[in-house]
Symmetry: C2
Subunit: 343 residues, 2 copies
């Protein structure tokens, strides 16, 4: 295998060191261990197997590169969603910033509770309450202006638990999976119940995913000519709800192809995994279980974990996962590192 | 420039011949004449200039490959739309096929006129009439079944003027532009008022455009579990109307990037061209004028051409084009060949 003069070096494990400069530095970790933040186990094996099966030419489950699709839920799957979704933090910050121009909010719900910092009242907000908040924080401006507002907010944002900007709370194991899938000619998509135009602002920088591969919820936009130039105005009206059944519908609407692999973490991802894994050939559904109270946040209520309204992983979902052969990833046991940025 | 021994050959123009085997055969025609079906003129020059400007590294209008986007309307821009849109032909054929199971259609409009072949009555159909026809021909089945029905119909389809399947009535000059743009790392999209799920069935084969790059009108789909397997059922209800302002909205919704170049042919493409050409840097809007009664069909009513309800090119659009610096392509003068398949 090695020329004679190399043998002593090889025995000493030095060949790898000698050869390292010949290889692309970025290609090396992939060859040796494409998913370093994943501990060996069922989840890592399932991912590696799916990629191997779909990319082996001549194999019965081979998929042509252009048809390799991977979909990722965002909140709770690729980044932190507790105590509130990143976009809810944006809405609350935005509300506080706009409040001086809206003195009536001081006495009108749901705005009053937000401005008072009444977390107990906010925990009880209905969907209608949230939609009212979205209406005043996400609408009434052009798509261009909205993107600027989000881009400006991101570095100033602060997750109340981790005291860091939301974009620094991305899960390193998921970034590795995205890189690994792309290195194997998969196209990676975010499929989120969150706002499509919100996520598109940072998806390329944070996940390496371009805007056209972000599928999310959206509000109505209206085409208007302003001073002879066209703009798209954001209207306070839901256009598409990319959650639960909406995720399967959205995948069909935006991609028109069925993914080979889907990653989720909560009840709202069930239909996406059902749609994905119902396809022919090799398919994989994977759910992230937040069972690591020490390094992140623990919630379920599956497996007796604390209940939550934000990213619920119910026992019913756990049962469906088991019946369907989906992989449940334990953050505590399967991930040796949580965040992309560990200071 | 050439070694001495080459000079006589170079003078004889033989160097190109000598070098030819060294070049990729597919790259060669592009180098020599990327748009052979286009006569030299303003339209061809504008397309070549746009590509040159956006792909020249270091130039002020350079666009990174991942951000190069080209959008094409379909009906009347990339294939024949007279006497009726290809999809209308599908709807009418489908109606005739389903009629035996619906005896009531014999006496109920708009179905009666279709089954009677009453072209005069059909020419007066309202949008509501067409939606009723779409409802019974395009809905009430799964997305998978619909795709099969369309795929089965395509080779049997027959345009009443040209007596050929609709997919054989594609404009060769537009296929060349698509190939040329893709060779220059543009992503090509169809942006059609027609049905997204209809066009996706043949877009890859006919235009080299994959399903995820087809943006079109769509009806509501519903996620249902049938025998433990998820399906998407097509509901007879409009979800998104990708025409006129909808084309600019659709481009933003599906791509989230502004195209550098847009091709259309009728009043319904105005906002798409406005949205495209309002961007910074080099942008190009191009409209196809159907002024070739001999080789295709002549209609406007711009420039005194016959009026039509199918793919109207109004004088107002012509005026907007002139004010906006858009290029109007004359099929008669700018195209030396019309169809991809000329038997």
């Amino acid at each position: 295998m090695f020329p004679a003069w190399m043998k002593p070096l090889a025995r000493a494990g030095a060949v790898a060191l000698l050869l390292t400069p010949l290889l692309s530095l970025s290609a090396l970790p992939e060859k040796t261990n494409p998913l370093p933040s994943w501990n060996d186990g069922a989840a890592k094996t399932a991912i590696l197997d799916l990629v191997s099966e779909t990319t082996t030419e001549g194999g019965e489950n081979y998929v042509a590169p252009g048809d390799r699709i991977a979909v990722f839920d965002q909140d709770g799957t690729t980044w932190v969603s507790h105590p509130l979704y990143g976009q809810a933090l944006f809405a609350l910050d935005r509300l506080a910033k706009l409040a001086p121009k809206h003195p009536e909010w001081k006495t009108t719900e749901p705005f009053k509770s937000v401005l008072d910092g009444d977390h107990e009242a906010m925990a009880k907000f209905t969907e209608k309450d949230w939609l009212e908040i979205v209406a005043v924080t996400h609408a009434g401006m052009t798509t261009t202006d909205f993107a600027k507002i989000v881009a400006d907010w991101l570095p100033k944002s602060k997750n109340p638990i981790f005291k860091r900007p939301v974009t620094e709370l991305v899960y390193q194991p998921m970034v590795e999976v995205m890189d690994y899938l792309r290195a194997n000619d998969f196209r990676t998509y975010i499929v989120t119940g969150g706002g499509q135009d919100f996520v598109r602002v940072y998806s390329k920088r944070v996940y390496g995913i371009p805007p056209e591969q972000v599928i999310g919820s959206s509000i109505v936009t209206k085409f208007e000519m302003v001073d002879g130039k066209p703009v798209l105005m954001r209207d306070p009206k839901l256009f598409f709800n990319d959650d639960s059944d909406g995720k399967a519908i959205g995948i069909n609407l935006f991609i028109g192809k069925r993914p080979q692999i889907a990653f989720g973490n909560s009840d709202g991802d069930k239909e996406m995994l059902q749609w994905t894994t119902a396809g022919d050939g090799a398919r994989l559904g994977l759910l992230v279980l937040h069972d690591d109270a020490k390094r992140e946040v623990a919630y379920g209520p599956a497996d007796g974990l604390p209940d939550t309204k934000v990213g619920t992983f119910s026992q019913a979902l756990m049962d469906t996962a088991k019946q369907s052969g989906w992989i449940v990833t334990s953050m505590k046991n399967d991930w040796n590192r949580i965040f992309s940025r560990d200071d």
